[in-house]
């Protein structure tokens, strides 16, 4: 490896690195504003100037490629003077409004001017003033503070794939704006707030809410989609003030979706804080004892087979296991967690996870989407596909029309016939697929929901196995699930084998076989209530509580510890950041009360034991935060029937997919704006 000398210390660096990256290897800190690891290099802030031997002038280290034998100095008088000079220019037009600026305390400019700046300014002229720009309901702008680093512009064009932010005008009059000051049409838009090194782009919902040093920071996991993005929950007392991304290159890199970030205000609204019982057609407050007594009485009054349970999209694995145990005591096995009847083959782990892994997308050389819109179903995963598309120009194809996806793709069909043709190698696309080295096939829930769902999955798997696209190196079979709980619940064997019983949960639900329906945080189940007795146990007064006869309050995901398994099969821990509201109790504690009333053997659940059992029952488990281990492919052919069907990709109401985001004011604002744009057609 080539060597570079930094401050007299010789270190090795990888070819292709910049001087700034080499300095980081040598543990030398270089101040910077415009440089960001995940974005292209701009080199326009000049803060990273360093001295290079044989160069008369200081060089911008972020843009200078490191070469063999370079001698870099970062601690000389020249560098210090250069930094001071740059800082003075940056501060010339920057207002001194830190006391009223939301960035205060976590501002790069504030911190760096403390360490590298001068204590006074020689600039006596009037400072420039720039009008605020409208950038949508999430981003608050104060453009006078902008130092023109263009990180936001690069993020929008490169990562988000919606080139809507730009710098207009020039020189002193340069201004950052969205095209004609429209709201940014991206599900990743709010990441520009984190990227902005100053207070020019700040968070609108969080404006003037708290200072960063007052907040308690808890590292946790996001549950609004199946990705398990790593997040940091910032709380002030018990209130969740904001959610920020945590760096995890395996999953979300440095980004999170707007829904992850801003549905947190839904945690303060529509909360269930005490048990309710329906009396005279109205939900009325009651005590825990009364509610549990009624519940147990009802359970005793019907046959076990007539009791059904449905587990929601944001339930952690411990609580789901506890629910399963409760149902075992009730002696019913009518448990379900899917919202729609999509096909899943739980026989081996490979069948229901995203096998290529999110980071592995970057290794693929062809992507085929089948009945899936990753932009709405898994925003961060879509960003990774875009990253790969931009870097390697890989071809992307789709069966079914997913709409705008932030990258170019070709629709090669919209029916199951096309899949059949591909598998039988009769389609013109087959050749392309077979000549690829690492093809990636993403099967969405919309495709698995079809009558030919089993055919699509089993035959594609067989096709991939036959053509050696599933081997030790590469596994191109990927299922894109949409809910945070799905993968974990399949592992807990909550999905029972349909062949054992003649009818599925959904058929029974439709034929009104169930007399009691126990909804555990489940709000998205489509179901017409007739005479069923509905128990809703969850955190929000949403669709489930609306139809319930008993409402039992339980905490949201930020208020309890719990394990979630993301779509790759990676088990991660969500940590308790705040306290349960009012009289609400953790789900497993509620089950304990029910069990105690129900059966006198004094069997009780314990959280630590639940977790232990969860970890033991996950197949291919290799450790927390790790990808599951690989196992031999099961060569068991499953007979499937083919139906000629059209593949329609279900449109997700992106900002309204779960009970937390439906309660969030910010999310409903975003949704209104997006719908308005669609109606007016004012969008590009």
């Amino acid at each position: 490896m080539p060597k570079i000398t930094i401050n007299g210390k010789e270190i090795e660096f990888e070819k292709g690195m910049t001087v700034l990256q080499a300095c980081e290897l040598a543990d030398v800190e270089i101040p910077r504003f415009c440089y960001h690891e995940k974005l292209s290099i701009a080199g326009n802030c000049r803060m990273c100037l360093v001295e290079m031997e044989k160069s008369p002038k200081p060089i911008a280290s972020c843009a200078m490629p490191a070469t063999e034998g370079m001698n870099i100095k970062t601690n000389t008088a020249l560098v210090e003077k250069a930094r001071k000079g740059v800082m003075e220019f940056l501060l010339a037009n920057h207002p001194l409004d830190c006391p009223v600026c939301d960035q205060g305390g976590e501002c790069d400019l504030q911190d760096q001017s403390l360490y590298y700046g001068v204590d006074k300014s020689r600039f006596v002229e009037n400072k420039r003033f720039v009008k605020e720009k409208y950038m949508g309901p999430l981003i608050k702008t104060q453009m006078t503070r902008c130092i023109h680093c263009t990180r936001c512009v690069r993020f929008a064009t490169e990562v988000a794939g919606v080139p809507e932010i730009g710098a207009i005008g020039r020189g002193e009059n340069m201004e950052i704006t969205t095209y004609l000051e429209k709201s940014m049409e991206s599900e990743l838009s709010a990441n520009v707030i984190d990227l902005c090194p100053v207070g020019a782009l700040t968070s609108k919902p969080y404006a003037f809410e708290a200072r960063p040093w007052e907040l308690k920071k808890t590292e946790s996991i996001d549950v609004t989609d199946a990705l398990g993005s790593n997040i940091r929950v910032d709380t002030y007392n018990w209130e969740v003030k904001r959610i920020l991304p945590r760096l995890n290159n395996e999953i979300n890199e440095e980004w999170i979706s707007d829904k992850t970030r801003y549905s947190c205000d839904g945690l303060l609204k529509q909360r269930l804080d005490t048990p309710y019982i329906k009396k005279e057609n109205k939900l009325q407050k009651s005590s825990w004892d009364e509610a549990i007594n009624l519940l147990v009485g009802k359970i005793r009054s019907v046959k076990p087979d007539e009791i059904a349970g449905h587990i929601g999209d944001m339930i952690n694995m411990e609580n789901a296991l506890a629910f399963k145990k409760l149902f075992k005591i009730i002696k019913s096995d009518n448990l379900e967690f899917r919202e729609k009847n999509f096909y899943i083959n739980p026989n081996e782990k490979m069948n229901y996870i995203f096998n290529s892994s999110i980071a592995g997308i970057e290794n693929s050389d062809l992507i085929l989407l089948i009945g899936s819109n990753p932009r709405h179903e898994a925003t961060i995963l879509n960003a990774r596909i875009r990253k790969t598309f931009v870097q390697k120009k890989i071809p992307i194809f789709s069966i079914g029309d997913p709409g705008e996806l932030t990258y170019d793709y070709e629709i090669i069909g919209n029916s199951t016939d096309d899949i059949k043709k591909i598998i039988n190698q009769e389609h013109k696309f087959s050749q392309k697929l077979l000549s690829a080295k690492k093809p990636l096939i993403i099967i969405g829930e919309s495709a698995l929901e079809l009558k030919s769902g089993p055919y699509i999955f089993e035959q594609l798997k067989k096709f991939l196995v036959d053509n050696n696209f599933i081997n030790n190196d590469w596994n191109g079979l990927n299922i894109l699930t949409q809910n945070a709980s799905t993968t974990g619940l399949i592992d807990l064997k909550i999905l029972k084998n349909q062949k054992e019983k003649n009818s599925s949960f959904f058929d029974d639900l439709k034929s009104k076989k169930f007399k009691i329906l126990y909804l555990l945080g489940s709000d998205n189940l489509e179901f017409q209530k007739d005479n069923e007795f509905v128990i809703y146990q969850g955190s929000h007064g949403d669709r489930g509580a609306e139809i319930a006869d008993i409402v039992l309050p339980s905490p949201a995901f930020t208020e309890q510890n719990g394990l979630y398994e993301n779509l790759e099969g990676r088990v991660q821990e969500a940590n308790k950041a705040s306290y349960p509201i009012g009289d609400s109790l953790e789900d497993w504690k509620i089950f304990n009360r029910v069990i105690k009333k129900l059966d006198n053997q004094n069997q009780s659940l314990n959280f630590d034991e639940l977790r232990k059992e969860v970890l033991q029952s996950i197949p291919n488990f290799s450790g927390l935060n790790q990808l599951p281990t690989k196992s031999e492919i099961e060569k068991k052919e499953i007979e499937t029937n083919f139906f000629s069907e059209k593949i329609l990709i279900k449109k997700l109401d992106y900002y309204f997919t779960n009970s937390i985001s439906r309660s969030s004011k910010t999310m409903s604002e975003c949704r209104q704006i997006r719908q308005k744009v669609k109606k007016d057609g004012t969008n590009n």
Binding site: P163, A167, I168, G169, R170, N173, Y179, L180
Partner: protein
């Protein structure tokens, strides 16, 4: 110079005329297909020529679509360069050079005359509706300072009297001849012939 703003009343549609569309194709041939967005500047200029010397938003959108560029990128280019007009200008568009050499030779007086005769503010159409003016940076004719540019022509070696005559002729729609107003031929030295110069030397 402050930031350029798009005009408040915009035409709904813009299309290159048949002749200009042929020119567009000619221009595009100069660039490789994958770099066709390099043609954004000549196309913006062509649009400005076609549309009475200013670029409407519809033209920027048209060009963006034609070159498969994001709208914002075309908008960035159009706001960056001062020679693209984003609001309507008079039929006679007067650009007064006010960079140092011209200013030393009395460009401020020309600006004053423009304010008096055409409109009190830059980019404002005159009462009669056929003139507007603006201050610009160096037009590269310092040797015959002070000077103004009217549409495609330079009027050079001006003083207050000649400027006023030119401005009035423009307002009355009967423009005077462009060129030097001290009788110079191009930028040749005046009064002293080269031979006489030699004698003194």
């Amino acid at each position: 110079m402050s930031i350029k703003k798009i005009h408040t009343s915009q035409p709904k549609e813009f299309k290159f005329s048949g002749e200009n569309m042929r020119k567009v194709e000619q221009i595009l041939k100069k660039y490789p297909e994958k770099n066709k967005k390099s043609a954004v500047m000549p196309l913006l200029y062509l649009a400005q020529r076609q549309n009475d010397n200013w670029i409407p938003l519809a033209a920027m959108k048209f060009i963006a679509k034609h070159l498969s560029m994001p709208y914002i990128s075309v908008y960035e280019v159009a706001t960056f360069y001062s020679m693209y007009n984003l609001e309507p200008v008079g039929k006679h568009f007067i650009q007064v050079c006010t960079t140092t050499p011209c200013l030393l030779r009395g460009a401020d007086k020309i600006v004053k005359l423009c304010k008096e005769n055409i409109s009190p503010n830059e980019h404002e159409i005159s009462k009669k509706g056929n003139c507007s003016w603006t201050e610009v940076e160096c037009l590269g004719a310092c040797v015959s300072a002070p000077m103004i540019q009217v549409n495609d022509n330079y009027y050079e070696d001006l003083d207050e009297k000649s400027t006023k005559e030119i401005l009035i002729s423009l307002i009355n729609d009967k423009p005077l001849k462009p060129g030097s107003y001290r009788g110079r031929k191009n930028t040749a030295p005046e009064k002293i012939s080269i031979n006489e110069e030699d004698k003194h030397a």
